[in-house]
Protein backbone atom coordinates (compact mmCIF):
# COMPACT_ATOMS: atom_id res chain seq x y z
CA UNK A 1 0.00 0.00 0.00
CA UNK A 2 3.04 2.25 -0.30
CA UNK A 3 2.40 5.44 -2.28
CA UNK A 4 3.94 5.83 -5.70
CA UNK A 5 7.11 7.95 -5.87
CA UNK A 6 6.76 10.57 -8.58
CA UNK A 7 10.24 12.08 -8.55
CA UNK A 8 13.07 12.86 -6.16
CA UNK A 9 14.57 16.15 -5.02
CA UNK A 10 17.96 15.38 -3.51
CA UNK A 11 17.32 12.59 -1.02
CA UNK A 12 13.65 13.49 -0.49
CA UNK A 13 11.30 11.39 -2.56
CA UNK A 14 8.14 13.23 -3.60
CA UNK A 15 5.28 10.75 -3.41
CA UNK A 16 1.90 11.03 -5.10
CA UNK A 17 -0.11 12.07 -1.99
CA UNK A 18 2.53 14.64 -1.02
CA UNK A 19 2.60 16.20 -4.47
CA UNK A 20 -1.18 16.44 -4.78
CA UNK A 21 -1.54 17.73 -1.20
CA UNK A 22 0.76 20.64 -2.07
CA UNK A 23 -1.05 21.15 -5.37
CA UNK A 24 -4.42 21.44 -3.62
CA UNK A 25 -2.90 23.71 -0.98
CA UNK A 26 -1.61 25.94 -3.77
CA UNK A 27 -5.04 25.96 -5.46
CA UNK A 28 -6.70 26.91 -2.16
CA UNK A 29 -4.18 29.63 -1.28
CA UNK A 30 -4.20 31.22 -4.73
CA UNK A 31 -7.99 30.86 -4.99
CA UNK A 32 -8.42 32.42 -1.56
CA UNK A 33 -6.16 35.32 -2.50
CA UNK A 34 -7.96 35.98 -5.79
CA UNK A 35 -11.45 35.69 -4.27
CA UNK A 36 -10.77 37.99 -1.30
CA UNK A 37 -8.67 40.57 -3.13
CA UNK A 38 -11.45 42.98 -4.01
CA UNK A 39 -14.16 42.70 -1.34
CA UNK A 40 -17.25 44.90 -1.55
CA UNK A 41 -19.96 45.67 1.00
CA UNK A 42 -22.61 44.60 -1.48
CA UNK A 43 -21.36 41.22 -2.71
CA UNK A 44 -21.65 40.14 -6.29
CA UNK A 45 -20.36 37.26 -8.38
CA UNK A 46 -17.98 34.86 -6.71
CA UNK A 47 -18.01 36.84 -3.47
CA UNK A 48 -21.60 35.64 -2.84
CA UNK A 49 -20.48 32.02 -3.12
CA UNK A 50 -17.53 32.50 -0.78
CA UNK A 51 -19.68 34.37 1.74
CA UNK A 52 -22.23 31.55 1.59
CA UNK A 53 -19.52 28.98 2.35
CA UNK A 54 -18.02 31.02 5.21
CA UNK A 55 -21.45 31.67 6.71
CA UNK A 56 -22.34 27.99 6.47
CA UNK A 57 -19.23 26.99 8.42
CA UNK A 58 -19.83 29.84 10.88
CA UNK A 59 -23.37 28.58 11.52
CA UNK A 60 -22.21 24.97 11.89
CA UNK A 61 -19.52 25.94 14.42
CA UNK A 62 -21.63 28.43 16.39
CA UNK A 63 -24.63 26.09 16.79
CA UNK A 64 -22.39 23.41 18.30
CA UNK A 65 -19.71 25.40 20.10
CA UNK A 66 -21.42 28.72 20.75
CA UNK A 67 -19.50 31.95 21.18
CA UNK A 68 -16.31 30.27 22.42
CA UNK A 69 -16.08 28.34 19.16
CA UNK A 70 -15.28 31.44 17.11
CA UNK A 71 -11.49 30.88 17.11
CA UNK A 72 -12.09 27.47 15.53
CA UNK A 73 -13.90 28.81 12.46
CA UNK A 74 -10.73 29.24 10.31
CA UNK A 75 -9.49 25.76 11.25
CA UNK A 76 -12.83 24.11 10.50
CA UNK A 77 -13.15 26.04 7.25
CA UNK A 78 -9.64 24.96 6.23
CA UNK A 79 -10.41 21.30 6.99
CA UNK A 80 -13.72 21.46 5.10
CA UNK A 81 -12.19 23.17 2.06
CA UNK A 82 -9.15 20.89 1.93
CA UNK A 83 -11.09 17.65 2.33
CA UNK A 84 -13.78 18.72 -0.13
CA UNK A 85 -11.26 19.78 -2.76
CA UNK A 86 -9.09 16.70 -2.40
CA UNK A 87 -12.11 14.34 -2.51
CA UNK A 88 -13.62 15.89 -5.60
CA UNK A 89 -10.23 16.42 -7.25
CA UNK A 90 -9.89 12.65 -7.72
CA UNK A 91 -12.55 12.80 -10.44
CA UNK A 92 -10.16 14.48 -12.88
CA UNK A 93 -8.32 12.06 -15.17
CA UNK A 94 -4.82 11.25 -13.96
CA UNK A 95 -5.47 12.96 -10.65
CA UNK A 96 -5.17 11.39 -7.23
CA UNK A 97 -7.12 12.15 -4.06
CA UNK A 98 -4.66 12.86 -1.22
CA UNK A 99 -7.42 11.76 1.19
CA UNK A 100 -7.12 8.28 -0.31
CA UNK A 101 -3.87 7.93 1.62
CA UNK A 102 -3.95 7.13 5.32
CA UNK A 103 -1.17 9.56 6.25
CA UNK A 104 -3.15 12.62 5.09
CA UNK A 105 -6.34 11.72 6.94
CA UNK A 106 -4.40 10.67 10.04
CA UNK A 107 -2.62 14.05 10.04
CA UNK A 108 -5.97 15.86 9.89
CA UNK A 109 -7.49 13.68 12.63
CA UNK A 110 -4.49 14.21 14.92
CA UNK A 111 -4.67 17.95 14.20
CA UNK A 112 -8.32 18.03 15.32
CA UNK A 113 -7.51 15.99 18.43
CA UNK A 114 -4.58 18.22 19.42
CA UNK A 115 -6.62 21.38 18.84
CA UNK A 116 -9.44 20.03 21.01
CA UNK A 117 -7.05 19.03 23.79
CA UNK A 118 -5.24 22.39 23.71
CA UNK A 119 -8.57 24.21 23.89
CA UNK A 120 -9.64 22.01 26.81
CA UNK A 121 -6.35 22.69 28.65
CA UNK A 122 -6.69 26.42 28.07
CA UNK A 123 -10.27 26.39 29.30
CA UNK A 124 -10.10 24.21 32.40
CA UNK A 125 -6.38 23.95 33.16
CA UNK A 126 -3.86 21.14 32.86
CA UNK A 127 -4.85 19.40 36.09
CA UNK A 128 -8.52 19.13 35.17
CA UNK A 129 -7.54 17.79 31.74
CA UNK A 130 -5.40 15.04 33.28
CA UNK A 131 -8.13 14.35 35.81
CA UNK A 132 -10.57 13.83 32.92
CA UNK A 133 -8.75 10.61 32.03
CA UNK A 134 -9.51 9.19 35.48
CA UNK A 135 -13.24 9.89 35.38
CA UNK A 136 -15.48 8.52 36.85
CA UNK A 137 -13.06 6.16 38.70
CA UNK A 138 -9.30 5.77 38.37
CA UNK A 139 -9.78 2.18 37.20
CA UNK A 140 -11.38 3.52 34.02
CA UNK A 141 -8.04 5.04 32.89
CA UNK A 142 -7.18 2.36 30.24
CA UNK A 143 -10.71 2.49 28.83
CA UNK A 144 -10.55 6.28 28.56
CA UNK A 145 -7.19 6.06 26.76
CA UNK A 146 -8.61 3.44 24.38
CA UNK A 147 -11.57 5.72 23.75
CA UNK A 148 -9.32 8.65 22.83
CA UNK A 149 -7.16 6.52 20.53
CA UNK A 150 -10.14 4.91 18.81
CA UNK A 151 -11.70 8.33 18.28
CA UNK A 152 -8.68 9.52 16.31
CA UNK A 153 -8.29 6.21 14.48
CA UNK A 154 -11.93 6.02 13.43
CA UNK A 155 -11.92 9.68 12.38
CA UNK A 156 -8.94 9.04 10.12
CA UNK A 157 -10.03 5.62 8.83
CA UNK A 158 -13.56 6.75 7.95
CA UNK A 159 -12.44 9.23 5.31
CA UNK A 160 -9.55 7.07 4.11
CA UNK A 161 -11.67 3.93 3.86
CA UNK A 162 -14.40 5.64 1.92
CA UNK A 163 -12.12 7.34 -0.59
CA UNK A 164 -9.74 4.39 -0.99
CA UNK A 165 -12.54 1.82 -1.17
CA UNK A 166 -14.34 3.87 -3.80
CA UNK A 167 -11.09 4.16 -5.75
CA UNK A 168 -10.53 0.39 -5.70
CA UNK A 169 -14.09 -0.26 -6.87
CA UNK A 170 -13.66 2.27 -9.69
CA UNK A 171 -10.36 0.64 -10.64
CA UNK A 172 -12.06 -2.76 -10.94
CA UNK A 173 -14.84 -1.28 -13.07
CA UNK A 174 -12.24 0.46 -15.28
CA UNK A 175 -10.55 -2.90 -15.77
CA UNK A 176 -13.82 -4.58 -16.84
CA UNK A 177 -15.51 -1.79 -18.87
CA UNK A 178 -13.21 1.14 -19.61
CA UNK A 179 -15.78 3.32 -21.42
CA UNK A 180 -19.10 5.06 -20.49
CA UNK A 181 -20.07 2.71 -17.63
CA UNK A 182 -17.62 4.22 -15.09
CA UNK A 183 -18.99 7.76 -15.60
CA UNK A 184 -22.07 7.52 -13.30
CA UNK A 185 -19.96 5.58 -10.79
CA UNK A 186 -17.34 8.33 -10.97
CA UNK A 187 -20.04 10.91 -10.28
CA UNK A 188 -21.32 8.82 -7.37
CA UNK A 189 -18.00 7.96 -5.70
CA UNK A 190 -16.09 11.06 -6.70
CA UNK A 191 -18.56 13.91 -6.40
CA UNK A 192 -21.51 12.74 -4.26
CA UNK A 193 -19.62 10.60 -1.73
CA UNK A 194 -16.78 13.12 -1.73
CA UNK A 195 -19.10 15.95 -0.69
CA UNK A 196 -20.92 13.78 1.88
CA UNK A 197 -17.67 12.52 3.41
CA UNK A 198 -16.22 16.04 3.56
CA UNK A 199 -19.39 17.18 5.40
CA UNK A 200 -19.18 14.20 7.77
CA UNK A 201 -15.48 14.78 8.47
CA UNK A 202 -16.12 18.46 9.22
CA UNK A 203 -19.15 17.78 11.42
CA UNK A 204 -17.25 15.12 13.35
CA UNK A 205 -14.32 17.50 13.83
CA UNK A 206 -16.70 20.06 15.35
CA UNK A 207 -18.40 17.35 17.45
CA UNK A 208 -15.04 16.06 18.78
CA UNK A 209 -13.90 19.58 19.71
CA UNK A 210 -17.27 20.11 21.42
CA UNK A 211 -16.79 16.89 23.40
CA UNK A 212 -13.44 18.22 24.62
CA UNK A 213 -14.44 21.73 25.62
CA UNK A 214 -18.18 21.27 26.22
Amino acid sequence: MEPKVLFEIGSISITEPLFFTWLIMAILVIGGYILTRNLQTIPKGMQCLVELAVEGIEKLVSTDLGEEGRPFIPLIFMIAAFVLFSNVYGVLPGAYSPTGDLTTTAALAVLVYVMGSVAAIRKTGFKAWIKGFFEPYWIMFPINIAGEVSQVVSHAFRLYGNVFGGGILLGIVYMLVPYIVPVPLLAWFGVFMGVIQAAVFTMLAVAYIQLKIG
Binding site: S154, F157, R158, G161, G165, A199, V200, M203, L204
Partner: protein, 91 residues
Protein backbone atom coordinates in the same frame (compact mmCIF):
# COMPACT_ATOMS: atom_id res chain seq x y z
CA UNK B 1 3.11 -24.55 -2.18
CA UNK B 2 -0.10 -26.20 -1.03
CA UNK B 3 0.26 -24.50 2.35
CA UNK B 4 0.48 -21.05 0.76
CA UNK B 5 -2.56 -21.77 -1.38
CA UNK B 6 -4.52 -22.81 1.70
CA UNK B 7 -3.50 -19.63 3.55
CA UNK B 8 -4.53 -17.45 0.61
CA UNK B 9 -7.87 -19.23 0.34
CA UNK B 10 -8.48 -18.89 4.08
CA UNK B 11 -7.74 -15.16 3.94
CA UNK B 12 -10.09 -14.74 0.98
CA UNK B 13 -12.90 -16.49 2.86
CA UNK B 14 -12.14 -14.48 6.00
CA UNK B 15 -12.24 -11.21 4.06
CA UNK B 16 -15.63 -12.15 2.67
CA UNK B 17 -16.94 -12.92 6.14
CA UNK B 18 -15.49 -9.65 7.51
CA UNK B 19 -17.42 -7.69 4.91
CA UNK B 20 -20.66 -8.98 6.46
CA UNK B 21 -20.09 -6.04 8.81
CA UNK B 22 -20.89 -3.78 5.87
CA UNK B 23 -24.29 -5.39 5.46
CA UNK B 24 -25.03 -5.11 9.18
CA UNK B 25 -24.05 -1.45 9.20
CA UNK B 26 -26.24 -0.92 6.15
CA UNK B 27 -29.24 -2.23 8.09
CA UNK B 28 -28.42 -0.04 11.07
CA UNK B 29 -27.90 3.14 9.07
CA UNK B 30 -31.07 2.60 7.07
CA UNK B 31 -32.93 2.29 10.34
CA UNK B 32 -31.46 5.63 11.50
CA UNK B 33 -32.46 7.30 8.21
CA UNK B 34 -35.99 5.92 8.47
CA UNK B 35 -36.35 7.22 12.01
CA UNK B 36 -35.06 10.62 10.90
CA UNK B 37 -37.67 10.71 8.12
CA UNK B 38 -40.35 9.92 10.71
CA UNK B 39 -39.09 12.75 12.89
CA UNK B 40 -39.02 15.22 9.99
CA UNK B 41 -42.53 14.17 8.90
CA UNK B 42 -43.81 14.83 12.40
CA UNK B 43 -41.93 18.10 12.85
CA UNK B 44 -40.85 19.58 9.50
CA UNK B 45 -39.46 22.70 11.20
CA UNK B 46 -36.82 20.62 13.01
CA UNK B 47 -35.32 19.32 9.77
CA UNK B 48 -31.92 21.00 10.14
CA UNK B 49 -30.97 19.67 13.60
CA UNK B 50 -32.43 16.25 12.83
CA UNK B 51 -30.36 15.97 9.67
CA UNK B 52 -27.15 17.00 11.46
CA UNK B 53 -27.73 14.53 14.28
CA UNK B 54 -28.63 11.80 11.80
CA UNK B 55 -25.46 12.28 9.77
CA UNK B 56 -23.22 12.32 12.86
CA UNK B 57 -24.95 9.23 14.27
CA UNK B 58 -24.63 7.38 10.99
CA UNK B 59 -21.01 8.39 10.62
CA UNK B 60 -20.17 7.07 14.07
CA UNK B 61 -22.05 3.81 13.60
CA UNK B 62 -20.22 3.40 10.30
CA UNK B 63 -16.97 2.89 12.25
CA UNK B 64 -17.61 -0.85 12.46
CA UNK B 65 -17.81 -1.24 8.70
CA UNK B 66 -14.77 1.00 8.24
CA UNK B 67 -12.72 -1.14 10.64
CA UNK B 68 -13.79 -4.25 8.73
CA UNK B 69 -12.79 -2.59 5.46
CA UNK B 70 -9.40 -1.59 6.89
CA UNK B 71 -8.76 -5.14 8.13
CA UNK B 72 -9.69 -6.58 4.74
CA UNK B 73 -7.51 -4.09 2.84
CA UNK B 74 -4.56 -4.80 5.14
CA UNK B 75 -5.03 -8.56 4.70
CA UNK B 76 -5.26 -8.33 0.94
CA UNK B 77 -2.51 -5.79 0.29
CA UNK B 78 0.07 -6.79 2.90
CA UNK B 79 -0.49 -10.54 3.31
CA UNK B 80 -2.15 -11.98 0.22
CA UNK B 81 -0.33 -10.09 -2.52
CA UNK B 82 3.22 -11.12 -1.42
CA UNK B 83 2.01 -14.68 -0.90
CA UNK B 84 0.44 -14.80 -4.35
CA UNK B 85 3.60 -13.52 -6.02
CA UNK B 86 5.58 -16.13 -4.05
CA UNK B 87 3.15 -18.79 -5.25
CA UNK B 88 3.58 -17.67 -8.86
CA UNK B 89 7.36 -17.86 -8.44
CA UNK B 90 7.08 -21.42 -7.17
CA UNK B 91 4.89 -22.36 -10.10
Amino acid sequence: MMEIAIVVAAIAIGSGIALLAGGMVGIGESYVAGKAVEGIARQPEAEGPIRTTMIIGQAISESGAIYALAVVLLLIFTVVNPLVSRLLELL
